[in-house]
Structures are given as structure tokens and as C-alpha cells.
Subunit: 456 residues, 2 copies
């Protein structure tokens, strides 16, 4: 099939869509470290995790061995509503950059949640429904994950309680309204509805909230409400498992046309998109079948891989969650207020953290004004207004393509375009009005947070 | 090819994409009436129109005979960036409604302009570029057309001046910001930059503007600025020509699977989407080859087809444009302030007006709370938050499907889903908060506007 003319967009047929999720851990020699019970310091058991998470999802979370998980029929049907997502050849961007590189992107933004988050949301809602639960709780920052989960819960007729970081709740009323269309119950966090929320409000009156704090509230509510469990949109092993659908589709599409990427680039916040995109390619690398260069791109203002430490840390601010071994900046790290570009989580997926520590992938960080500059170039040439998160990957892909222009190399670049920026226009406005700076935390600042890491 | 299993989404390959636009007028026995010069009462000549519009577009506007217009290579390339759009089988909606009807929709919202408007914007920008122009002017209400034109102009590196209805400019800062990403110059209308704007502001201080008024300003600026022409996103024959790509793709996709629609439904404001969607099907009906039922759906608060008159009228409020023979409510008609659902133009495409007058299609009007109810049902089952405009068609399609449930008929319904509602969440919020009513103009009110129609 090689040497076929490559169309602008490659869509798989329904028959070609992946029928299983790929569990990258099965091919990792060094498995990600287990979650620890912060009280005992011992690995969390399935039973302990079952108080917080759905049963089937706990199995997936702990399973380092099963290589393939069949996608349940009901989830496949839902996937068919908005998938396969297109693999796009960025002909117009290549022309604009005048580069010999061949640029492809896997575009996950063409659904109402606006991002790849729906891939895992529908899976988690499905398993909650299977277990006979009444509802789920979660947190959301910018709102993509909350929207995705609201859509998934509406589909399976589950209740959905979302704790939305207060600053986003106030600045992004439209995201909130989309969740309302889907029947979700959205509470600004920190709130007085939980003990941890009350405590945080007492200690930091007037705080506008953080992702770590919203997680704590959502977990407390799930554990305290009969028939509820907590679900999370990133970081966890189960989420990366579901998100492997991104990479599996991308690889199938590339294989169909005989294309082999040299470099694979993804933005990295908690790691759900990057982990999903690279999964089958990384599998080949781990098995010694192929070689690829992987690049994680994070914001310079929240540099967990590039400037964090690989250590056990809390996943949340309230310290109600298990400890995860990951690259982290410290669970109370919050990026500077004028950080506009998403990807603001203090830690990183344990799977990706392990792979990075093992030297299987690179990581870079980029300042936000460069990210928005890349976003604008992309919007004008490829006709898609990208999410700030995705634009980190665009920025790195453009850099790679410009290197090829210098060297003359005809590299094939694949990057993940995780979503659209339709709800991020306040950030674009700041960029246009010159109100965006590139503040980067100092070593001394990072050291303060590091000093408070739990001793395990 | 019949009896194949129908996938959720049918995507044409690039090879299957239409290579020409279909000019419906070639098959109409009663041609749409010509545009008239308001000064002389005589048909506008190509020369007169050329002062306002690009040369090639004037040819297309006046050409009632050429059946097929090849799509220029550059436009085809741009189409490949965001087209083909999917033809979707609404399996989930059918299941929810428990109807024997088979529902399909042609989804035009998966591009950053958020609607089908880009199909004509890129064509008009192309011809402006070909003519060596410096830029174009236009008006925009809710902002879809302005965004689409900004994207098209950025692609061809043309200046783009947009007059945006003041109330939208203020209430939709994000639409404005998207246009800014694409480098457009956006002015709230009425403005002091034009004579007609100054006059309207003098006569109606504090007015929040209207589409008809913004058209007048854009035309005045185009005519008065060297190297500029005016472009329009709906109503005109040329626009329906470009939009035929919607129907051509839909028909090719349906033919491929041996599907014949019984009913074809589209929302109708100025008529660009409806005219494009029905074009090739209507062509078959006009040539006596097939029969279809066509339904135009308009808001009860702006009912140009169902309660207007078929007469010559101005296309704009300032009366600087030619007269068009169309179904109209009068050029100074503006829907009630709490009308949220788009489709607020006082007139209707002359082509569609003629077809409607000839009994070739039906028209209905629907109240806006029913429209938003349908929108929410659709969002929850099909996973796409629809534009209020598109939701008029959804509402009618659901009604048809429910009739089938009563009668047991297995009708095949096709409707146009013109766009997404990501920038319409203020309207959704009003609906949820019970702040939306179903005001409908009285006969006496409509009579007042009718009495001011020009005497031709």
C-alpha cells in the first residue's frame, strides 16, 4: 500500500477501527510503581481502591500484564458516533513553513467535549453503569474533562457531579453551560459542600481553587455518597489504556498508507493524550521492533517532567488520594496566575514517568507566548483553532519541521492535536493584547514545593 | 451497492468529492426574478453589479443557464482541509425516539467557522484574489459568516473588513476574537465610519444594529474603497451555487449506499444552507426524474416564507443594495429582541422564494423554545451541541420521525445540521433559566412593515 497518494485526511472505516485497547504496561520491563496507601505506605489493594473507583476500572488500573482489552460493544457504538478521528496530513502548514518534513496530526477535537477526553469518559461511565451505580463525581479545570464526562453520563443516564476549579467556573461560564445541557451538576471548587473544601476555604479565604483541590472534593463526595464512585480524566493507568485508541487508530491509518513516523510529539499535562497517542508505537520500541523518537511537550510554567523529581507524591492537594510515583512538582504546586495554556497538573502519569526515567522518551518545555504564536500560524494555515494545550505540540512540531528545513532531512512528524480552542478565547485575547508573559518558576520556588513531598 | 450495512458516518473519499458546483437555476422553468436597480427599476447589469461584487461572482450571479461550474483547483484544495463533511446516520436519535424512520444528517459544523458558511467564503475570497483585489468587506450577525470569511481571507492573504451587528459584537466577544486570530478588522455596526451608519445612529441613537444595517455599511465601504468589493454569505444566487457542494456530497454518499431520502429538511434564514442541501435533489424533481418532499423550517419570530409576501424588496436597511424579488417581511423588519435562534434575515433567497411560490417545497415555522428542546435532545443522544439555527431543522426532523412512529411508516429523513452551538451558550442559558419566550409578531405588526415595501 506504500506510495499511494496521501489524502489530506485519512479516515478509517468502521471495520478498521480498533476493537481493543492496548495496555502498554504489558510490554514495559520496568513497570510503573504501584499506588501506595498514604496511611500504611503499602500498595493499595483492589479492595481499597474499590471504595473510590469502579470495580472493573480498578482491575484495569492494577493490571500490568494483559496486553489487549476488548472494547465493549456499547463503547464501540459510542465511539462510532464521533470516531474514527481523522489523521490529517498538514499539507498547508508544510507549504507555509516551506519544509521538506512531512507533518501529520491526529485530530481529536471534532466532538462537543472538544478534546480526546471523551475516549476515556465514555469507558468510565460505561463501567459505572455496569456496576449498577447511581452516579460519578469528578473534577474539571478548563472544563474539557467535565464536559466529556457529562456527555458520557447523559448517554448512559448516570448522575454526574463535577467540581470545577472556581477560577474556571467564573471565567468559563460557557463550559459550565455545556455541562448543564448534558444534565451535570457543577459546583465551583473549593466549596462548602465538603470537609476538605471547608478546610481549604478556612486556610485560604478567597482562593480561586486548583485542580488538586477539586480532586480532593470530588473524591470525598464519591466516598461519602452511596452509589457513587470517583472518576479521573488523566494520570491513571486506566485512562492511558482507554486513550490508546488514539494511537491505535493513528498507527492503523499510517500502516494503511505505508507511512512510518520518525518523531512523535504530544503535549503533556497529566499524560492522557501523550500516553494514548504513543502507546502502540512505544510498544514496538519496547519490544525492539521499531525505533521512534518521542517528545513530550510541557509548559515552561508547569514543567513536571523537565524540572520535577521522580518520587511518590499525592495526586491531590487535600491528600485524600493514594500516593503515585511520578515526576512531580509537589502536590501544592500551582502554575503562576497568568499561565493561560492548560496542562497545569503538578504531576505526570506514572507510566509516562517511568518511560521517561528509563530514557524511552524526551521531554521539552516551551514558553506560552511561543505556544500561542504557533497556534495562530496553525489556525491560519490548517483552518482549525487549536486548544492552547494542543498548541504545545504544534509548537514543537513546527520547531522540528524548521530543523528539517535547515538540514534538508525529510522527516515524518506525527503530533497529537488534542482539541479545539473555542472556549479558550480569553487566553487568545490576552495574547493578542500583549498581556501574556512567559513567567517561569525559579529553582528556589520549585525547591519549596519539593521540600514538602511526602517521605515514603 | 444497496443493502450494505450503513455506518454511523459516511465519508466520501477525496476522489468522490464533487468536482463542480451545480447551478439549480439551469433546471428551473420559472427562473428567479432579476435584481433591479432601485433608481431605474431596470435589471442590474453586470457592469453595475461589478462596482459592488467581484467580476467572476457577478457572472455566476446572473447565469441562469450553465448547469455545472467546475470548482477551481485552489478551492478544491481548501475544501479537502475540512471536507468532505460526514453524512451521519442518527442511530442514537432513532433509538431514543423509538421511531421506524431512518434519520440522516449532513453535518457541516466540523470546521472553525462552525458552519457551512466556509463553503462559499473560500469561493468568494478566491475570486477576489483572482481579480487582484486588496480586500473584501462584509457584514456578520451571530458571527459564523464573518469567521468563515476571515478564515478564507487569511488563507489567500486578503484584507477582510467585517461589520458586526453591535449587539452581537458586544455579546459575542469570542466570535470577534476568532476573527481577530484570522487577522480580520471587525467594526461594530452601526458605526461612524460610514455615511449610512452615521444616518442610522442619528435617527436611532442607542440602536444595537441589525443585519440589514450592517450590510449597508459594508456595501458603502466596499464601493468607496479602491481595490475592495463586497461579499455576502447568503441570499444571493452565487452563494447557493457554492453551497450546492453540501447537497452534492450528501447525494453522492446516499447513492453509494442505495439510500433515497423521502423528506429533506433544512433551516432557512437567507437560504444558503437549505438551497445548497436540496440543490441536486431539487434538480431531479424539476427534471421529473425523482420526487422528494422538501421542508424549509424558519423561526416563528421571523417567518419570511410562511407569513411574508413575494415581492421586490431591498436586501438591506439602508436601501443601498439592489432590489430582489423574494419572500420578505420588509427590509426594516427586525425580530423581537428575545429571539435567540438566529435566522433573523427579513428576506429569503430569490431562488428558494421562486421554488416555494411554484409549490416545489413546503415551509413551516417553529417557536424557539421547541427548537431549544429539540437541540437538547439531539445533543444528549447524538453527542453534538447544535447551533440554534440548525436546531430548527432538528425540531422538524424529530416531528417527522414522531409522525412515522404513529403511522408506522419507515420514511427516510435527511436534514442539514449546519453548525455547532459553541458560541451560542447565552441562548442555551436563557432556555435553561426559563427566560425564553415564544413571541410571534402579530398580523398588524407585519402589515406595518409590508406597507413600506418599495413600489416597483
Amino acid at each position: 500500500m506504500a506510495n499511494k497518494e496521501i489524502p489530506y485526511k485519512i479516515y478509517l472505516t468502521e471495520d478498521e477501527m480498533p476493537k481493543y485497547w492496548y495496555n502498554l504496561r504489558a510490554d514495559m520491563k520496568n513497570k510503573p510503581a504501584p499506588l501506595l496507601n498514604p496511611g500504611t505506605g503499602k500498595p493499595m489493594t483492589a479492595e481499597e481502591l474499590g471504595a473510590v473507583f469502579c470495580e472493573d476500572l480498578v482491575k484495569q488500573e492494577l493490571d500490568n500484564d494483559t496486553r489487549e482489552y476488548p472494547v465493549p460493544r456499547e463503547i464501540l457504538d459510542f465511539y462510532k458516533m464521533y470516531r474514527p478521528s481523522p489523521l490529517v496530513r498538514a499539507y498547508c502548514l508544510e507549504k507555509k513553513l516551506n519544509t521538506p518534513a512531512k507533518i501529520y496530526y491526529k485530530f481529536e477535537g471534532n466532538n462537543t467535549s472538544g478534546s480526546h477526553k471523551l475516549n476515556s469518559a465514555i469507558a468510565q461511565a460505561y463501567y459505572a453503569k455496569q456496576q449498577g451505580l447511581k452516579g460519578v463525581t469528578t473534577e474539571t479545570g478548563a472544563g474539557q474533562w467535565g464536559t466529556a464526562l457529562s456527555m458520557a453520563c447523559a448517554y448512559f443516564e448516570l448522575d454526574c457531579k463535577v467540581y470545577m476549579v472556581k477560577v474556571s467556573y467564573e471565567q468559563k461560564p460557557f463550559r459550565r453551560e455545556v455541562m448543564r445541557v448534558y444534565g451535570a451538576d457543577v459546583t465551583p471548587s473549593p466549596s462548602m459542600t465538603t470537609q476538605v473544601g471547608q478546610k481549604i476555604l478556612r486556610e485560604h479565604p478567597g482562593t480561586t481553587g486548583s485542580l488538586g483541590c477539586a480532586i480532593s472534593e470530588a473524591v470525598e463526595t464519591a466516598v461519602g455518597t452511596p452509589g457513587y464512585r470517583y472518576v479521573l480524566g488523566s494520570v491513571l493507568n486506566q485512562v492511558l489504556l482507554h486513550q490508546s485508541v488514539i494511537g491505535m487508530e493513528a498507527k492503523t491509518a499510517m500502516d494503511k498508507y505505508g507511512i512510518k513516523p520518525d518523531v512523535i510529539i504530544g503535549c503533556a499535562g497529566g499524560g492522557s493524550n501523550l500516553g494514548g497517542l504513543i502507546a502502540p508505537f512505544m510498544g514496538e520500541k519496547l519490544r525492539g521492533e521499531q525505533d521512534y523518537e518521542f517528545i513530550a511537550v510541557e509548559p515552561a510554567s508547569c514543567p513536571s517532567l523537565t524540572r520535577g523529581v521522580f518520587a511518590y507524591d499525592f495526586c491531590d492537594t487535600g491528600m485524600v488520594c493514594p500516593l503515585a510515583k511520578m515526576y512531580t512538582l509537589g502536590s501544592d504546586f500551582i502554575p503562576a496566575p497568568n499561565h493561560a495554556g492548560g496542562l497545569r497538573y503538578h504531576g505526570m502519569s506514572p507510566i509516562l514517568s517511568q518511560l521517561y526515567d528509563d530514557g524511552m522518551m524526551k521531554a521539552i518545555s516551551v514558553p506560552q507566548t511561543r505556544v500561542f504564536g504557533a497556534a495562530e500560524t496553525f489556525a491560519r494555515t490548517e483552518g482549525i483553532l487549536p486548544a492552547p494545550e494542543s498548541s504545545h505540540a504544534i509548537c514543537a512540531a513546527i520547531d522540528e519541521a524548521m530543523k528539517c528545513k535547515e538540514t534538508g532531512e525529510e522527516k515524518t512528524i506525527l503530533f497529537g492535536l488534542t482539541g479545539t480552542g473555542y472556549f479558550d478565547l480569553v487566553a487568545y485575547q490576552k495574547y493578542h493584547d500583549g498581556q501574556m508573559d512567559d513567567y517561569v518558576p525559579t529553582d528556589a520556588e520549585l525547591e519549596q514545593f519539593r521540600a514538602r513531598l511526602p517521605k515514603v
